[in-house]
Symmetry: D3
Subunit: 245 residues, 6 copies
C-alpha cells in the first residue's frame, strides 16, 4: 500500500492571494487556520490596501491585515498592482504574480473565484492567479528567468460571498469544525475592525459555513472550487461525503 | 494531527452496480482493481444477463462476468429487475437495491452515470441506485424493515463510454497507472470474450484512461463523478492535480 | 396592507403541494405566512403521511401537519398517490392533481423543485404538479370533464433543502422579514415535533433564509423558482434587488 | 395610470446605456416608452457615434439618436470612451460611468447583455456598466469623491439581437402591448433612418417582441435579464406568467 | 475527392414522430417539405389522435393529419400508445417504436425535443424515440427478432414551440426559404383547421422561422437539434453560417 | 435538386490562426490536411514565435512552423502582437487581424477555443479572431478602409488540448481517417521537433482523434466547434452521425 500524502514530513506551503486586505480571511480563513494547525506553512499576497472601500484608511487596513494573518498563523506581503477598484487583467500583472509563485514554490494556491457578478477586482485577480500558475511553469518567459520554473499541485478558488460561488465547478468541502480552527477564523475576521463594525460580515461567513456543516453532518465546512479535477491515489483519500438532509 | 482515513484497519466495502454483465469492468474496472489491491472488499451487483445484446448468450455472459469479477478481486451477484433493454425506473426496484445496500453496508457505491444519451438501462440504473442510497437511510420503509438503516459514505458515478460522462459534475481522477492494476483491468475486460471479439471495447477504455493519464502526468487515470461534494479533513488529502498540457 | 398592482379585491388563492407532511413548511412556510397575512387564501395538498420516515407515526404526522397549516393560515387535505418513498411519475397521478387544480382554481401554485439529488418523492411530485398545471388547461381530458378548464397565473418551485435549489432558474426572493411572518413560520416548523426533535431542520431553514436576507439587505428572504418567466406590466413592480455584499 | 406598488409619488429615474446610437432603441425601446408613459424619467448614455458602422455619418447618427430619444420621452447624452468598434474594458471607463450613475442617481439601470457572440462593444459596455453600478457604492474611490455614493435598485440587461440573450439568466417579460407604447417604440426605431434603410432591424425587433407576446397571451413583450434576483414584498407583485402554448 | 452524400441515387427515408396529429407540421413541417421536394421519402408516425385537446374531435383530427401529411409529400400512420395527455415512458413503448424503425429503415429520424417545460407528451415521446433508435440496433431484443437490426444515420429533435428548444444543443439551421417549401408548409399547418381556428399557431411558427431567417440572411429557417454531433467528410459540406446581425 | 456546395469549382480559402508555432497543427492539423487534399487553399497566421516556451529557440520554432505548414499544404505568415505569454485582448489587435481577413477573404476561419483554463494566449487569440471576423464586416472602421469589407462563411474553434474543448457548443466531427491525411497530420506534428522531443504531444492528439473515431465508427475524427449554428440547404448535407458505442 502506497504511503498517504499525509506521511510527508512537511507539506509544500500554501499561497493565498487576496484583492483586498480582508478577502482571504472572509472567503477561506477557516481553511487557512485548519492547514496551519496541521503544520502547513501559509503565506498571503494582498494586492491592494482597500483604499477604495467605504470604511477604513489604508494605514489601518494594513495593520488589520497583518494582525489577522498572524492569528491564522500566516505570513503576509502586499503587492502593488493597479490599486483597489482599479485592477485590470494585464499580462505583466500575471507575470509579476508568477514570479512570487516561483519564489514561494507552493503546493496549494488559493485565489478568489472567477464569478463575474461580485467586486470586479475579485474575478480579475482570480484570472491573474490562474494564468500566473501556468506561466510559472514555462521556461522561456524572459521576466521570470531569475527563478527556476515551478509546478504547483492544485489551484483552488474561494468565494468571498455566496454569490461568488462558481456554478460550474463541483466544490470540495473542507471541514473546519474543530473549535480551535473556528475560533482562530472568527478572531481573524474580527481583526478587520473597520469592516466588521460597518457590516455583519462575520455572521455572513459563519452562516455560510454553518449551512454547509449542517449539510455534511458536521458543525462547519467551507467550499473550495478546484481549477482542475483532483487526482487521488485511491478512494481511501475521500472522507465521507455524507448527506444529512 | 488527525489520523488519515487510511489508518482505518479495513475500509468499508465497495459496492458496484452494473446494468449489464460488462458495464462495471468497462466503465471503472481499473478503479476496482486499485481498491481491492489496497485491501478493500468489492462486490458487484449485475442487473441483467445482457440478453438483448447483439453478441453472446446469457449463459456465456454469466460465466464471463463471474470470471471477470474474480480477476478484479470482487464477488458478484445477479439481480433480476426488468431484464436487459427493458429496465424502468420503478419505486420497487429502488427499494430492492436499497435492501442490498442495507445488507452489504458499503462505504463507497459505484453506479452508471445519469447522462441520458447512452444505453437507456444505464442512466435508469444510475437513478435507481441514487434513490436506493437514500432510501437505505429511511427508518420507516416497510419493505426494508428486516435490516437496519445504513448511511453510505459517497456515491460515485462511472461512465461506460465517453459520451456518458456527466457535463455538470467535476470528476475526481483515480490514478490507475500501477502495472498490476492496469494488467488486472485489461484481463477483466478481455474476459468478456463475446463482447471484445465484436468491438474494440478494450482499446476504447484504455484510450480514455490514457488520455486522462497524459493530462495528469501519469500513465492512466479513470474519472469518477461524485454525487455529492467530497468532504476533506484537510488539503493534505488531495494529491497533486498537476496539469501537464 | 398595500394594494396589489392588479387591484383585485382579493387575489386568487394559493395552492401548495408537498410530498410529505412537513415539506411545504420547511421549504417555503415563510412565503405562505406572508401571503395569508396579506389576505390571500392558501390550501395545502399533502401527498403522503410520511410513513417511510425515520421518525413519527402517520397518525402523529397528520396531526402535526394540520396544526402547522393552521398556524400559517392555510387549509389542508391529504391525497393518496403511491405512498411515502414510493411515488412514481404516472399520468393518472398528474390527472388527479389537475382535478384538484380545477377544483381549487388557484392563481399561484407552489411545488417542490425538480432538482434530482434530493428525496426522490420531491422532484417527482414537482414534475407531476408541473404537468397537472398544464393538463388543467386542456379541454378534452376525459377524466377531468366534471370541472371547467383552468389556467393558473404562475407555478413556482420551492427547495426543501439548499441542495434542492435549481441551478438553471434565476429565483425571485420573497422578503419574509416581518416579525409576525417569521414567528408564524418558525412556529409552523416547530409544530412538526417528531421531525424537529430528531434533526435541526428549523435552524437549517432559518439559516438559509438569513443568508438570503443578508444578501438583500433585509432580515430574511426565501427563494422561489418560477417555472416560466414572470410577466410585469412595468418595472415599478420590481422592488429593489439591492446587493449588499 | 395605475399606482405603483411602492406608492412613490415618482419612481427613481431610469438610466440606459448604449454602445451605439441605436442600441437602446432596438434592444429595449418598448420598455423605455412603457416606463416614461408611466411617469418615470429616463436618460440615455450613448458611448459612441457609430462611426465604425457601414451606414451613416456620425453627425447624422447623433441627430437620429436625439430624435429617437425624444420620441421615447428620454433625455440623452454622449460619452466618449474608446470609440465605435474600439471599446475596451478599462477601470477608468467603469469609474467614468460610475460618476454618471452618482450624478443621475437612478433606480433602474439598463445595459447591453454580456453574451460574447455579438458586436464586441456590447458585452464590454455591459461589463463596464455592471462594474460601474458597484463602484458607485464604494465610498473611497478617489475619482468619485465629488458625488455621494449611490446604490441602484436593479440592473437589467437588454439584448440587441436574439443571439445576445443570456442563456444563464431567467428573464422577466415586460408587456409592451399598449398601442401607444408600440407606436412610440416603432417610431423611435424608424428614426434611425441610416440604419433601417439598410437592414430590416425594425421587423427583427417587432418579430422578437411578437414571439414573446404570443407566448404570454398578450400582443408584444420584451425580455429583460436581471443581474441579481428580483426581491418581491409578496407574490401579488407578479402578474400572471400565463403560458399559452 | 470523395463523392458527396448527395450523389446517392436516393437518400434513405426520413421518419418523423409526433405525439399529436399536428406536432410534426408545426414543429418542422418546412423541413419535411424541403426534404420531399429534394426527392427524399418521408413517413409520419403519430402517437395519439389529439383526443385530450380543447379543440377538434379525434375523427376530424385524423382527417386533418392525413390531409396535412399529403400536402408535405409524406405518408402517415397512427400508433396507439397510452393516448393523448396520458403518455408514459415505458420500455414496451420504446420497443414498439424500435420495431417501426426496423421496418421503415430510415436514415434521418425526427422527434420532439426533450425540453421538459412543454406538453408532457412531447418530451416523453422524444425520449422513447431516442431509446428506440438505440434498441433498433441491438440484435438480442426478443420482441424485435422479426426484423433485422438497423442503424440510423442521425436523430434530430424539433421544437414544437420556442420554449421547447433545447438549451444544451447547438442547432443546425435548415433553410426553408424556397417559396414552394414555404407554401407547402403553410398549407400543411392550415390543414389543421380545428387548431388554427382557435389559436394563431401558424403565425407563431412562421414568426419563429422568420426570426431565424433574418439572422442567417435568408428568408426563413428552422432549427433542428442533433442528438449526436454531426460527422462531416469535409468543411465543404457546411453552407455559410453567415451572421447578419 | 440543387447542386451541392462541393460542385463549386474552388472553395473559398481557409484561414487558420494560432497563438504559437505549433497550435494549429496540434489542434486541427488533420482538418487542414483534409481540406487541402480536397483542393482548398489554406493559410496560417501565427501570432508569436513561441519564445516563452520551455523548449526551442525562436529561430528554430520558425523553421519548424514553416516546414510543418508545408507538409499540410498551407502557406504561413507570422504576425507580431504582444509576444508569447504576453497576449492581451486589445481593440487594435482585433483590427489588425480583421485587416488580414479582408486581405485573405477566407470562407472558413479557424481559431483556438475560448475555454479559459488553458494557455492564456489561446482563448485571448480566439476572442480576437472572433471579434476580427465581425469587424471585417463593418464598413466604417477607419484603420480598415484600404480593403473592402468581407463576410466569412463560418468561424470554427479548435481545441489544442482536451481541456480546451468548449462545453457549451455541440461540435461537428470531421473525419480524418484517410491514410494520406493521417500521415500528413502526423508528419506535420513531428516537424515540431523541439516540442515533441520534450512531451508526447503527438500521442496526445492521435489519442484524442482515435477516441472520436471509435465513437463514430471510423478510424479518426477531429472536433470543431462552430461559433454560430451551421446552416444547411438540406439534410442530405449531413453525413451519418452513427453512434457505435
Amino acid at each position: 500500500m502506497k504511503p498517504s500524502p499525509k506521511s510527508h514530513p512537511r507539506p509544500a506551503p500554501l499561497l493565498a492571494f487576496g484583492a483586498h486586505p480582508d478577502d482571504i480571511e472572509f472567503g477561506c480563513g477557516g481553511v487557512i487556520a485548519n492547514e496551519t494547525s496541521n503544520g502547513r506553512e501559509a503565506h498571503f499576497v494582498v494586492c491592494s490596501r482597500g483604499e477604495a472601500g467605504s470604511h477604513g484608511k489604508p494605514a489601518q487596513r494594513i495593520l488589520e491585515a497583518n494582525r489577522s494573518a498572524k492569528l491564522l498563523g500566516a505570513s503576509l506581503e502586499f503587492v502593488e498592482l493597479d490599486g483597489d477598484a482599479h485592477l485590470e487583467v494585464r499580462a505583466d500583472h500575471a507575470i509579476k504574480l508568477a514570479g512570487i509563485i516561483r519564489h514561494r514554490r507552493p503546493g496549494i494556491v488559493l485565489a478568489p473565484s472567477l464569478a463575474e457578478n461580485q467586486h470586479p477586482d475579485h474575478p480579475r485577480l482570480g484570472r491573474l492567479v490562474r494564468d500566473a500558475c501556468r506561466l510559472a511553469r514555462y521556461g522561456g518567459v524572459r521576466e521570470l528567468r531569475n527563478a527556476p520554473a515551478h509546478v504547483i499541485e492544485q489551484l483552488f478558488y474561494y468565494a468571498v460571498t455566496a454569490e461568488a460561488e462558481p456554478s460550474d465547478i463541483t466544490p470540495v468541502l473542507i471541514d473546519v469544525s474543530s473549535p480551535d480552527v473556528l475560533q482562530a477564523w472568527t478572531s481573524a475576521m474580527e481583526a478587520h475592525i473597520t469592516q466588521v463594525s460597518a457590516r455583519n460580515y462575520v455572521e455572513l461567513q459563519l452562516t455560510r459555513a454553518r449551512l454547509r456543516g449542517l449539510r455534511t453532518g458536521s458543525s462547519h465546512a467551507i467550499a473550495l472550487f478546484p481549477n482542475d479535477p483532483i487526482v487521488l491515489d485511491s478512494l481511501a483519500q475521500t472522507s465521507s461525503g455524507v448527506r444529512r438532509f
